[in-house]
Each structure stands twice: as C-alpha cells, then as structure tokens.
Amino acid sequence: MSFISLLWVLLLGSLLGLELIGKVPPTLHTPLMSGANAISGITMLAALTLIVKAENNIPLLVIGSVSLGFALFNVVGGFFVTDRMLAMFSRKPSNKK
C-alpha cells in the first residue's frame, strides 16, 4: 500500500468513527468507552506481525510476545468487562414483561 492510500484509509476510518458514535445515549457511554477501548487492542495484529517476522531474533520475539500479551489483556479484559456491564442492562426490560 502506498503511503497516500494509507492516509485515505486513516481519514475515512476517522470519519466513520465520528459518524458511528455521534448518536449514543449517555447511559451507554461507559460500556461504549470500554468496548471501544477493547477494539483499540487491535494493535495485537501488529504484535503478531512482529513475532512472525522476527524469525530467530530472540529479543524481538520476546518484545513481540510481551506486546501481544499487553494487547490481549486489553482486548479480552475489555470485551468481558463490557459484557458484564451490558448484561445488567439487557436483563432488565425482559424481566419487566
């Protein structure tokens, strides 16, 4: 990919984010923040790339692995914690009926 097309990707991604998130009720802001935060752990893909390309470079493998650990901590923890919060919301209306 050329640098310019990556910049386009950046621009369109930002616009998409602005548009998607403009209409959220305050109630869902904490779960949304937590969910979006889990998605920012997408950097785990960069860590994976690093490990795969490291070949026999042990220090690089270790750095990649630590980085992957941090990212997955963010991703797994983030999604679980969001689910915990949302589970409490979604149970309610059905209980009422």
Partner: protein, 479 residues
C-alpha cells in the same frame, strides 16, 4: 494478487464492517450486548485472517508459534480474571488500566521494529527505510507512552494511591511539561537524522510527559482524561498500523480515536468545562479554594433518619439522585431495598441521572442496573428536571456538584452554566452525606443552606439500612 492476499483482503474488509456495526450497535440498549460480542468476533476474525495469510505465504516458524501462544495465554488470562473479579464501582480505573496496556502494546511494537532491524524479505519493514516509517514509529512510541503512563497515573489517582502534589498546581508544571514536549521533539528530529539511540530518549520523555499532564488533573475531571486517553490509544494503534503497513489497524485505530474524542466532548459539555481548561487548568478545587464561593454555611438543617422515613412515607412522588458517594459506599443494593418498599406502598420512585454523576457518564446506570433497578426508572436530566416542582421528596445520595443551584444563580461561581438537577424545586430535599465536606469541585453547595433541605449525616449504606428499619417500623412496604 495471489490467493492468500485476496483472502486476507476479504477477511479484513469483513472485520472492519463488523467492527463498525459493533460500535453502532453499542449505541442502543437493546442491541448493545450482541454488538459487543460482534466486535469481539470481528477481532478474532482479524487474527484468523492475519495468521492464515502468513501460513499461506511465508509460513510461521515454530518458535514464533511458541511466543505467540505464551503472550496470548498470559495476556488473555490476566485480562479475563481482572474483568471477572473487579467490582462495578472500580469500572473507571479498570478501563484506564486496560487502555494503558493497549498503549504499551503499540509502543512495544514500534520499539521492536526500531531497535531490531529485521533481516530478509520484509516489504515495508526496515527501520529508517523511509521517512514515513520513522515518523510513524515515533508517533506510535510518543502516543503509546503517553497513553500508558497517563492511564496508569489516572488509575492510581482514582484508586487513591496517588494524590495531587502541590507543585503540579503551580505554574511550574507548564514549564516542566514544555521541557518534556520540547525534549520529545528534539529526540524525534534526532531519530530522523539517523541517530537510533535517541529512541530511548523519546521513550523516556514521552512517558514523563504522560505523567506530567495527567498528575495535575483533579478527581472530577478524571473521566474526561480517561476518555481522552482512550482516544489516544486508538491513535497509537493507527500509528502502529502505519509501522506494520496494516489498513485494518489504521481503520480500527482511527475509529476508536474518533470515538474517544466525541465521548470526551460530551463529558466536557456535561461538566461545563472546555477540554483546554481540563488539560491545562489544573485541578478545579485548587483554583477555587481562595475564591468567594467557598464561604461558610449559615443555615444547615440536620435531621434524623426517623424524620426522613416519616416524610418518605407521606410522599406520593420520590426522586432519587445518586452520585459517587453511593458507589463508594456500595449502597446500590440497599438503596434498591428502600425504593422497593416505597413502591410497594404505591409511591412513585424515579432515579435522576446527571450526565456526569459518578466518575463516568453512565456510571450510575451501570451501578443501579447491577442492583436490579428497572431501566425505565432511570431518567436523564432533561427529562426529569420539569418533574421536580411536582415532587414531594428528593433523596440526594452522595451527589454534590450536580445538584448545586450556584450553577444557575451565581455567575461568579466556577460551576456557573453547568447543567444541574433542579432538586431545590421539590417540596423537601434530603441530602445523605458523611459530613460537610465539599464535592469534587471543592465548591460550597448552596443547596444545603436552603430551608427545604435537610441533611442526614452518615455513610450512605448505613443511613439506608437504618431507613429500611424505620420504614419497617412504620409498616411501609408490608402487605
């Protein structure tokens, strides 16, 4: 284009689509939980896509697999355990911690690529191959480090492990932070000039900058900072995407970055603070301790739990205003018991949720949902404000600044202009509070001086427990 490239392209596209749908779904109560799972699925899909691409092209060496598995298991395990164990009251700190680790991950990737030039067949991968690589590595390190140290400081402050040192409230901090910022700029240019070792300078000064900008910020502004740092971690991920040449990373990172900014803006609006004053104004309490608004109380009425129970029993409509004090006291379940009793007696009960009640928007909703409060009873500020004049009793539980009439009446007050709940319009207001200490803004609350306000002193949970006892004695809620 060969097959693995095409497959990866399709999977990436699908993952972006699902992530976008996930974020969109998170904006509606009904679909939020499924949306969160959809996003989690999209993330797993993206991993499968990346791994299958490498399996189909260069292959993945055994030692790579080993390190992948080690990192994944340790990271996921700790993440899952923490997510299951952490109490709902510590949600803001937890999000801050997760967020900081995301930033750390981006930092490490950039650092790894920078200090270990990798041999052989790496398209866009050699360090200093191009200016673009250098810039994206620097940005990734800079933003990643700020996200990490900033989030850790935010977490420590929310946990009470760190206080706000006095020097951070003086002008000194601007000077210190400018020094750090200039130093990172110098390190950045040095790096571009080919001096690889200055990468460590960049790591150190950006870490210090993260600490320096977060440390002066006071408790009430913390959610804004966490939200902003959440946005940063997205930017760090996008920068890491430039480093490893991944469109998926850039799109997802940019989406999170934009999301965090919007959320930050919403929170600032709710508190009547501009982002600039949050970031550079220092702690609000420090600014205002000297100002006239921190005057003495002259007309405090204190009352017993028994009186409170008697008034509640006679009420037709009760509005509960929860705040951070409720979260700290872990009193949400006890509160629910009280309101259940009132409802059984035919008293209408609703909860007025200020947009920034607690430490994060939605903090109270999460807390009350945990205590099985029906979702429909939670009313947003704009909906509930016209109801106060027709309300018999308002119970303020651990909320302070969000019910301060100064925000409407006193143009000299730092709170002036902040949207507040008009609780003083109700017939009687009970404020359950441990003592006369000020709220997080450090500003005197004029509500406490009003004739229709009574203070019930004590820990929220204890007072509510006593209240249950008193209501029982009155025969409320027993059929």
């Amino acid at each position: 284009m060969n097959l693995p490239v095409i497959i990866k392209f399709v999977i990436d596209l699908l993952a972006v689509l699902l992530l976008a749908l996930g974020i969109k779904g998170l904006s509606k109560v009904k679909s939020a939980r499924d949306a969160n799972r959809l996003a989690a699925f999209a993330m797993s899909l993206s991993v499968v896509g990346l791994l299958s691409y490498y399996l189909g092209t260069s292959g993945i060496a055994i030692q790579s697999w080993i390190w992948i598995i080690i990192g994944s298991i340790i990271g996921s395990l700790f993440g899952a355990i923490l997510a299951k164990k952490v109490p709902m009251t510590s949600m803001p700190e937890t999000v801050a911690l997760f967020n900081g680790c995301g930033g750390m991950s981006s930092l490490l990737v950039a650092l790894g690529v920078a200090i270990f030039p990798i041999s052989g067949g790496l398209e866009n991968f050699d360090f200093f191959k191009s200016l673009i690589n250098e810039v994206s590595i620097s940005v990734s390190i800079f933003v990643g480090a700020i996200t990490f140290t900033g989030s850790i400081v935010a977490m420590a402050k929310l946990q009470g492990w760190l206080s706000t040192p006095a020097w951070t409230q003086s002008k000194v901090r601007h000077f210190v932070n400018i020094v750090f910022a200039v130093a990172s700029l110098i390190a950045f240019f040095d790096l571009i000039n080919g001096n690889t070792s200055s990468i460590w300078l960049l790591v150190i000064v950006s870490s210090l900058l993260g600490i320096g900008v977060t440390l002066p910020i006071g408790g009430a502004d913390m959610p804004v900072v966490i939200s902003l740092l959440n946005s940063y971690s997205g930017i760090a991920a996008a920068a890491a995407g430039f480093v490893v040449d991944s469109q998926l990373l850039i799109v997802a990172g940019a989406m999170v970055g934009a999301a965090g900014l919007i959320l930050t803006q919403v929170m600032c609006k709710g508190m009547n603070r501009s982002l600039v004053s949050v970031l550079f104004g220092g702690s609000l309490s420090a600014q205002t301790t000297a100002s006239s608004s921190s005057g003495e109380y002259t007309n405090i009425t204190s009352c017993s739990v028994e009186e409170c129970a008697l008034t509640l029993e006679a009420a037709n409509k009760v509005i509960i205003v929860p705040g951070y004090g409720l979260a700290v006291a872990q009193a949400q379940h006890t509160l629910r018991e009280v309101t259940k009793k009132l409802e059984q007696n035919g008293i209408e009960v609703v909860y007025a949720i200020h947009p920034v009640a607690g430490r994060m928007p939605g903090h109270m909703n999460v807390l009350l949902a945990e205590a099985d409060v029906p979702y429909e009873q939670l009313k947003e500020m704009d909906v509930v404000n016209p109801d106060f004049p027709a309300t018999d009793v308002v119970l303020v539980l651990g909320a302070n600044d969000v019910v301060n009439p100064q925000a409407k009446n006193d143009s000299s007050s730092p709170l002036y202009g902040m949207p507040v709940l008009d609780v003083q319009e109700a017939r009687t207001v009970f404020v359950i509070k441990r003592g006369m200490s000020a709220g997080y803004s450090g500003i005197k609350n004029d509500l406490f001086d009003l004739p229709n306000t009574s203070m019930v002193f004590g820990d929220a949970k204890k007072v509510l427990n006593d209240l249950i006892g008193e209501l029982k004695d009155l025969g409320v809620g027993e059929k």
